[in-house]
Symmetry: C2
Subunit: 241 residues, 2 copies
């Protein structure tokens, strides 16, 4: 990776395209990073890959970049959802950051029966996903959804989407087996909440035809650790690692 500044923008990118910067972006590039006209910046928008751009105008509150050439094509991650029950603020932020680095396509905060947190700041979490994508060299930003009740998500579960269900009460790993039959299917990972699943939730999840139960070892993992461990197992067995 070059040491170049990487920035996510919500603007089309293409040869010769001009990209206006908003106030925060101009402040970051010209105030914090001290870039001047002629400097190069890497831009991506989640759709057109990564583009090398020149600084054409640099102001305190605005700026303009010009796209020169595509440096990387768009690399979309596998069609994988990460579902987790929000926990304390800093650790929820970490889960979103890590899910982005590890290559989840969509992030679904879900409220289980034993979830303590009843609210999330979706906009703040989405901004964390953007920052993580800028940092990890990715060209794709996963969408962070609003908090939903797990029961409701399961009510509308897509029939073809397989579910890797991480239950600390279980042993064994059904993933290797599932990898043979469901390699090209869409998937989701569900991380257990800190208070564990309720008996009703566990029963329902075990009854799901799409469920594949996976144990994450003999120690109890915090939710943020469990998210990275589960994503590693999935990416190695079925994903793009």
């Amino acid at each position: 990776m070059s040491a170049k500044v990487r920035l996510y923008v919500e603007h089309p990118l293409g040869a010769g395209q001009s990209v206006p910067l908003d106030r925060d972006q101009a402040h970051y590039l010209f105030g914090v990073m001290r870039l001047t006209v002629g400097a190069q910046v890497a831009l991506f928008n989640g759709q057109d890959g990564e583009w090398t751009c020149d600084v054409a105008e640099a102001g305190k509150r605005a700026g303009l970049l010009t796209c020169v050439e595509q440096a990387k094509p768009l690399q979309t991650p596998p069609d994988l959802w990460l579902m987790f029950a929000p926990i304390k603020k800093a650790r929820t932020d970490f889960i979103v950051e890590k899910a982005t680095e590890m290559g989840a396509a969509k992030i679904l905060p879900v409220q289980t029966e034993f979830t303590n947190s009843e609210r999330i700041r979706q906009d703040r979490l989405q901004a964390h996903a953007v920052e993580a994508a800028e940092q990890c060299g990715g060209t794709y930003v996963p969408e962070v959804q609003e908090l939903q009740k797990l029961a409701r998500v399961l009510d509308h579960w897509p029939q073809d989407r397989q579910l890797m269900f991480c239950d600390e009460a279980e042993v064994g790993n059904a993933l290797a087996l599932a990898a043979d039959t469901h390699r090209s299917a869409p998937w989701a990972i569900l991380i257990g909440p800190e208070g564990g699943f309720s008996d009703g939730e566990r029963k329902r999840l075990h009854g799901f035809a799409q469920s594949h139960v996976v144990s994450l070892g003999p120690r109890i993992l915090r939710a943020d650790t469990a998210a990275v461990a589960a994503l590693t197992l999935w990416q190695t067995a079925l994903g793009d690692w």
Copy 2:
């Protein structure tokens, strides 16, 4: 896991054994958690497993517990070192916490040529390992070593210890192959520093007979994410998962 308070103590544990509490522990159990005489606490010391203990005396600055029965035998993790270059404070704390949860036996902060941080607070990191062991239900606390130069660690490398070397410049995974021939060997995982390895370090590590190069996917992972991902791969291929 029961909701019982778990506490690490530096004192022998065994049937009928009395365990005195220091001021911080007494404050936590009786001030914060509001336990009274007769309440049950889970103690472990990294050697004698987990013991269920009764509160015999509860004071503001001291207290006494009595061991009743062993609840879990000692579960030592596999003989696995986690080596990493310290980064920003919060993320270094996270790496120690996660290495404990994931079951590393020893944690070695190493200074590489491109490591920015030249000091660590070993005592603070060791306290994080203790807290993580209390939290994750483990009966073992990994030792956190003082910061050492990577070159010096490699100079004295034990001949039988295999090395899982996580290099973002590589592709492929030599671990499955190594699992057959080195299953019962002691191991170490080396996570690349945020600035990458120097050419000299990379050359030396590739030349090591004990080295097994492993890629952690197509995106660039932060060091704390890489630590959990690497530990997951190792524990699944060679460890106690």
